[in-house]
Amino acid sequence: MSQIEEVSLDKFKHLVSERALTGETMLLNMGPQHPSTHGVLRLLLELDGEIIVNCIPDVGYLHTGIEKNMEAKTYQKAEVMTDRLDYMNTIGNNLAYVMAVEKLVDLDVPVRAQGLRVILTELQRIASHLVWLGTSGLDLAAMSMFLYCFREREQILDIFELVSGQRMMTTYFRPGGVWRDVPVEFEKAVRDFIKIFPKRVDEYESLLTKNPLFLDRMLGIGKLSKEVALSYGVTGPTLRASGVDWDLRKVRPYIGYEQYDFNVPVLTEGDTYARYLVRVQELRESMKIVEQALNKLPLGPVRSENRKFVPPPRSEIGVSMESLIHHFKLWTEGFPAPKASIYNAVESPRGELGLLLEGDGGPKPLRVHLRTPSFDNLAVLSQIVKGHLVADLVAILSSIDIVLGDIDR
């Protein structure tokens, strides 16, 4: 039987300053249900008046044991768990997972499937950045941003619904390709979006980028230096705003990113405003990739022909005994993967999303570890908020763009 314990300072003694022990500074809980914490995150703040002396993040409220659950499922079935990980980047998580499985079992992916993966992943990146833009506007009392951003995000979710039947938890990418080919309406839906979106980004920028109230809250707040960022393992736009030119799509191209012409926005200031600018520019760059990928999209199969890993199409099962056996084997037993370990990383909207996948020769993974970018990005928070006001903490927290499902797994 668990007993209710009184919270004592002893557990945090080594994390707060000595002044907290004498009662000179105040300890304050922000969260786990504060509206600007972007999820169930608790921040224990040590305050001197309104100035933050120390900040102790407390995570784990959304821990669901995804890694453990994936180890108990076959390679095909474990994929649905990755959707639930970072719920703003479901397609990107699927991509990281299927690429890891493909690398482990050495499976080919048709060119059309690669093109579709690029289009959808970049649309997902835009949707994720839109949620970030909307909510961080909301945190700084720019209410209308939220409404505009969600209007465009809705259009992207409609495209996802069109291709997969689901708005968020799509599981559309599968090892060896995608679930099925896109419907004919897909191209028009994406073209419509390409047509309106650049103008909409201009609109967002006209509302925020030079807004004096917005600049007051962002400029020079929460400076993150290059050295600290690297030491803490910070990746993604947060790292690029601190002057490090590191984007996995550019330096280690996967699924054919090398064919597309796009820039990686890098700024050196490292403050909240730089992180805002990097993400807004990324919206435009992602749009460029989507347009190029759609123009280049070839016709052809969308799933690998390797029947040992990819189930045969329905039409074949009725006429071929071998296909029936493959179908049966794949959905009851699954496919075996070698007794080896691989690490595969992709660029998620938040940074390096890595997957350590270790097989044991059987149809279930021995170990799945998800290296989630928000986890490391949040760890640096306690370093960059010191000396700022509580109100600035809200701006800083929203500028590093964390997703709690990504942290707690």
């Binding site: 039987m1 668990s2 209710i4 314990e5 557990k11 080594h14 994390l15 995570v59 784990g60 821990h63 044991g65 890694e67 453990k68 659950n69 108990a72 690398k103 482990l104 050495d106 600290v228 690297l230 030491s231 803490y232 393992g233 990746t235 490090v244 590191w246 330096v251 280690r252 080896a340 370990s341 691989i342 690490y343 990383a345 390096e352 890595g354 350590l356 270790e358 021995l366 170990r367 570890h369 290296r371 986890f375 490391d376 760890a379 707690d408 797994r409």
Partner: protein
């Protein structure tokens, strides 16, 4: 293996006598627990591995010696290279020196390993659980930790099972 990685692997092998494994162009080096801090420092300072991309562990239960591998995935931004360092750890009271002084990112990652695998890190500045509640018993990602099933409650045995459930009672 990448040509640029060969001298780095050789340097580690010469200095620490590290065993070496390769799979699909990924390099794994095996280093003893006592040498891990030196190996990481060497890689960071002399070979530009600035980023500790991942720090995790793998449980090979029921094998006991070594039961765990602690995995350090390192990335070099300057050279665009990756290397994986593995530390084999035995099953009885697993202990590894902390890497927090080399990479600050190790702080939370090591807390996660303490929480999930029960691997202790010597000299860690803040050895608390990170994801699960403080009063939890056991280490969930160990292979001998059950996945967890709930007993189904029916009308006839509702109260009986309710008594055994581990949540707070009135």
């Amino acid at each position: 293996m990448d040509k640029k990685l060969e001298p780095i692997v050789k340097a580690i092998q010469d200095k620490f006598g590290a065993a070496y494994e390769e799979f699909r162009d990924e390099v794994h080096l095996f280093v003893n627990a006592e040498q891990i801090v030196d190996a990481l420092t060497l890689l960071r300072d002399e070979q530009n591995f600035e980023l500790l991309s991942a720090l995790t562990a793998v449980d090979y239960y029921p094998q006991e010696t070594p039961r765990f591998h602690v995995v350090y995935q390192l990335t070099s931004l300057a050279k665009n290279l990756s290397v994986q360092i593995r530390v084999p750890v035995n099953g009885s009271s697993p202990k590894v020196p902390t890497a927090t002084r080399v990479y600050s990112a190790a702080n939370w990652r090591e807390r996660e390993l303490l929480d999930m695998f029960g691997i202790e890190f010597d000299g860690h500045p803040d050895p608390r659980r990170i994801l699960s509640p403080e009063d939890m018993e056991g280490h969930p990602l160990r292979k001998d930790f059950p996945l967890g099933y709930e007993e189904p409650q029916f009308t006839f045995n509702f109260d009986e099972i309710d008594l055994r459930k581990p949540y707070a009672k009135e």
